[in-house]
């Protein structure tokens, strides 16, 4: 985990990579029910990300560096989704299939929101 980002763009890129990319690692590639073998890995992606922090904590750490975009709809939506994931943690860890399924949807949504944010920030205005 590198130091604090120097710019909003960098913060968004870090969000997309530190949170977005890894949270979707397993979730992206699961269809239907989560196979038991994948469940622990999915749980790691959401609740322990890369360095043991839950994805929510990493997002909160990077949010201030987003400046005016900290309250952007996409960031807020990603955060809300991660909070819902936090609420699901015990059920998901217990192996409840509904909770795991919900986690998959959340992880995918968070990944695509954050990636879209990073890409849009890179855009110099051309549609």
């Amino acid at each position: 985990m590198s130091g604090t980002p120097a710019s909003v763009r960098e913060a968004a890129a870090l969000l997309a990579h530190d949170v977005g990319k890894y949270i979707g690692r397993i979730a992206r590639n699961v269809e239907g029910e989560v196979p038991p073998a994948l469940a622990p890995l999915l749980l790691r992606d959401v609740y322990e990300t890369q360095d043991g922090q839950p994805a929510l904590a990493r997002l909160d750490a990077l949010r201030p560096a987003l400046g005016p975009l900290a309250h952007d709809a996409r960031v807020v939506a990603a955060r809300d989704a991660l909070q819902r994931a936090a609420a699901l943690e015990s059920a998901a860890r217990a192996g409840d299939p509904a909770a795991l399924g919900a986690l998959v949807a959340i992880a995918r949504a968070v990944e695509s929101q954050l990636r879209a944010l990073a890409r849009a920030l890179h855009d110099a205005g051309a549609p």
Partner: protein, 576 residues
């Protein structure tokens, strides 16, 4: 009068953020009085700037140790929020973080970097540069880094008063901000004296604010003195020393008055997007994102997509499917007005009070009108197409024009094209300055061979940095005998990482030694100290090398090349 001021305050009005200015403190409560409120930085910070103007004030070190990482993160989030809202307590909140924590270190790093810029601006104003706008142009960069130390408002106000006599309004504003920050009595008195003496006849609004402040100050002083006398009369052994009462009363009255003065100064709440964008480079990433969204989702997918069908309709040649398509785009799905409103709100959420897109941005107002027009034409289009169609085309054309305006705006954001036009602009500007104009240059060579070269640096900052280097070079060769030669060129190099480096070389024929360290050491009298701070912000670097071909040295700026956005499709055409 004080009752009136308090009422104004309680009504929740917030002080207007004026375009082009440093954060105006929006006090949510009194920035006043007791040192416990003030979370003042420790004296070590003021000592590190020994020799510079700092108020002599006993302040308690309120930076309590906070070993818990959680609370530091939360404190940092709060401090950041205060800064974003331009709350006058932001600086203190930043300084209050524990410097042993990563958040505290970051805050300290940014505060110090910004502080250097602010002080550099003051120093440059004092040094009396011929280029009037240059020192102040660095302010947006500093603002984007961290909140300003409120104690700097007074030296800044004084520097403006002394060295920008043509702009007393600006000086007055900083005096008022200084007063609103709840200063100590002696300085407050001096500030009031000085702001009162400014020639503000040409700006009645500001004059009125100053008058109000001064009156309140005098009233507060009288009241405080009166209550001090009264309390001394009541008890022969006063438990509170009279001066403290005076100070507290004074400061309270002043802060209230100055804040109210800022409120009462009916400045526009927000400006157009273009203006906010010019004045606040720290908003650029957000603006890029928001403009991109608006253009892509609304203007391209709905308005733009309907163009061909509309053109056919105008010609009277639209087929039924085309008409259906047109109606689908314009009138189907999410109602156009709701979509527009959604985008507007996203802008407002992100950009806050700096922009007023509903009233103070003509382009947005006109676009809103055009959208309303389109929505209203839906029933008419069915009933009476021959009347409705030309009106629809008109509204549509307005929105296309709006899209073009947005594209132009977006192109001005934090991305600068490095080309010969830019370099000529820099050289011409510097050569127009008094000292540089005295130098008889024998050769000035400007060359950029790589096309489409862009760096992610705000144009004003890049120009500022380059002007500093060019000025330095010209003055250096001016101290040498002929031939005096100057050359600016650009090279692009590929790194082993696949990234590209853009190097801008300023070569000159002066054998005077100059080291990168000297530049980095921020010797503000040379103006090069600001270069260091600006470069750090942009992840750029500076080096000095010997040069050949009749030049003695090259000062080289290095940036990473700005590439177009990532967009490798997930389904691989790369795989082929």
């Amino acid at each position: 009068m004080r009752v009136l001021l308090i009422a104004l305050f309680a009504s929740g009005a917030s002080s207007a953020c004026e375009p082009g200015d440093i954060d105006s403190p929006r006090g949510n409560g009194l920035n006043v009085g007791t040192s416990a409120d003030r979370d003042a930085p420790s004296n070590t910070h003021s000592e590190s700037h020994a020799g510079r103007h700092t108020p002599a004030s006993p302040r308690t070190d309120a930076r309590a140790p906070q070993p818990h990482a959680e609370s530091q993160r939360a404190a940092w989030a709060r401090a950041e929020a205060l800064w974003r809202e331009r709350d006058g307590r932001a600086y203190a909140a930043w300084r209050a973080l524990d410097p042993a924590s990563p958040e505290g270190r970051e805050a300290e790093r940014r505060l110090d970097a910004a502080d250097a810029i602010y002080r550099g601006v003051i120093a440059r104003l004092r040094a009396g540069e011929p280029d009037a706008s240059a020192p102040l142009a660095a302010l947006p960069g500093a603002l984007a880094l961290a909140p300003i130390d409120p104690r700097l408002y007074l030296p800044l106000a004084r520097a403006l008063r002394d060295h920008r006599p043509s702009d007393p309004v600006r000086a007055a504003r900083y005096y008022l901000r200084f007063l609103a920050a709840g200063p100590e009595e002696d300085e407050a008195r001096a500030a009031v004296r000085e702001v009162r003496a400014l020639p503000l006849a040409a700006s009645p609004e500001t004059a009125a604010s100053v008058t109000a402040t001064v009156r309140a100050f005098d009233a507060a002083r009288r009241d405080a003195a009166r209550s001090a006398r009264a309390s001394r009369a009541l008890t022969s052994t006063a438990t509170l020393p009279a001066p403290a009462l005076v100070t507290a009363g004074l400061a309270a009255g002043l802060a209230l008055a100055a804040l109210a003065a800022l409120l009462v100064t009916r400045r526009p709440r927000g400006t157009s997007l273009a203006r906010a964008s010019d004045d606040a480079p720290e908003l650029h990433p957000a603006i890029t994102y928001l403009v991109g969204g608006l253009r892509h989702e609304l203007l391209k997918h709905r308005i733009g997509a309907a163009s061909d069908a509309l053109a056919a309709l105008v010609r009277g040649e639209a087929t039924a499917p085309q008409r259906a398509f047109l109606e689908g785009r314009l009138f189907g799905g999410e109602p156009l007005l709701a979509a527009w409103e959604g985008h507007l709100r996203a802008f407002e959420r992100a950009l806050g009070p700096r922009v007023d897109l509903r009233r103070r941005d003509r382009a947005f107002r006109d676009a809103a009108r055009a959208i309303t027009q389109i929505v209203r034409l839906e029933p008419l289009l069915a009933r009476d197409p021959s009347t409705a169609t030309p009106r629809l085309a008109q509204a549509h054309a307005k929105l296309r024009a709006f899209d073009d305006q947005l594209a132009t705006l977006a192109a001005r954001l934090v991305r600068t094209r490095v080309d010969e036009a830019l370099l000529h602009e820099v050289v011409d500007a510097v050569r127009g300055e008094y000292s540089a104009s005295l130098v008889a240059l024998d050769e000035v060579h400007v060359e950029v061979t790589e096309p489409d070269l862009e760096v992610e640096v705000f144009r004003v900052d890049l120009v500022l940095i380059l002007k500093n280097l060019v000025r330095n070079a010209i003055l250096a060769v001016g101290r040498e005998p002929a031939p005096r030669r100057l050359a600016i060129g650009v090279s692009v190099d590929l790194e082993a990482t696949g990234e590209e480096l853009v190097r801008i070389h300023v070569r000159d024929s002066s054998p005077e030694t100059l080291t990168a360290d000297a530049i980095r050491e921020r010797r503000a009298d040379r103006g090069l100290g600001l270069v260091s701070a600006a470069l750090a912000r942009y992840d750029g670097a500076l080096s000095v090398e010997p040069a050949g071909d009749g030049y003695a040295k090259a000062v080289t700026l290095r940036f990473f090349r700005a590439l177009e956005r990532p967009g490798a499709p997930a389904s691989l055409s790369e795989a082929t």
